[in-house]
Symmetry: C2
Subunit: 64 residues, 2 copies
DNA sequence: ACATTTTGTCAACTATATTTTACATTTTGT
DNA sequence: ACAAAATGTAAAATATAGTTGACAAAATGT
């Protein structure tokens, strides 16, 4: 399932996938794959994404 | 750096590393490594640990 | 309409998380 | 003191996250 929360938070900061990738020091394809879903990123990368977007883990990656 | 939050939450549920590993369907060594630190688990595993311990990602894996 | 940026996707490669087996040390219970 | 359970740790193997390069499709701006 897609991660629309990351996509929305990124849009809210007016960043492209490439921008966010550079901030998090990963490839653009990795960010794309995370938003696309069916992916299992590392906690370090999740934290990097959260900090770049001024969100927390619960905001962007928690699921009930 | 050690993850004492996971260790404490696990103790709070009276579970051994092996117990928690079985619930999360990973090896005992993986749980041990996470508590020991210097490790970078996947978000899925972090979520499984949180649910097993009735905590959230921010509770156990967030860092300022 | 055109140029530019952004996004989606693929294949082959590299790095590293996780497993399995195994053993030593520490802790806990009686 | 003893036995059993729990923890720490290590090496070799496997699974998969993340990279790199490349190209097509879609979106955005002028």
């Amino acid at each position: 399932m897609k991660n629309l929360k990351v996509k929305a938070a990124r849009a809210g900061k007016d960043l492209s996938q490439d921008d966010l990738a550079k901030i998090c020091q990963v490839s653009r394809q990795t960010i794309n794959a995370i938003e696309k879903g069916d992916y299992n990123p590392s906690i370090k990368l999740c934290i990097a994404i959260c900090k770049a977007l001024d969100k927390t883990l619960d905001d962007l990656f928690w699921e009930e």
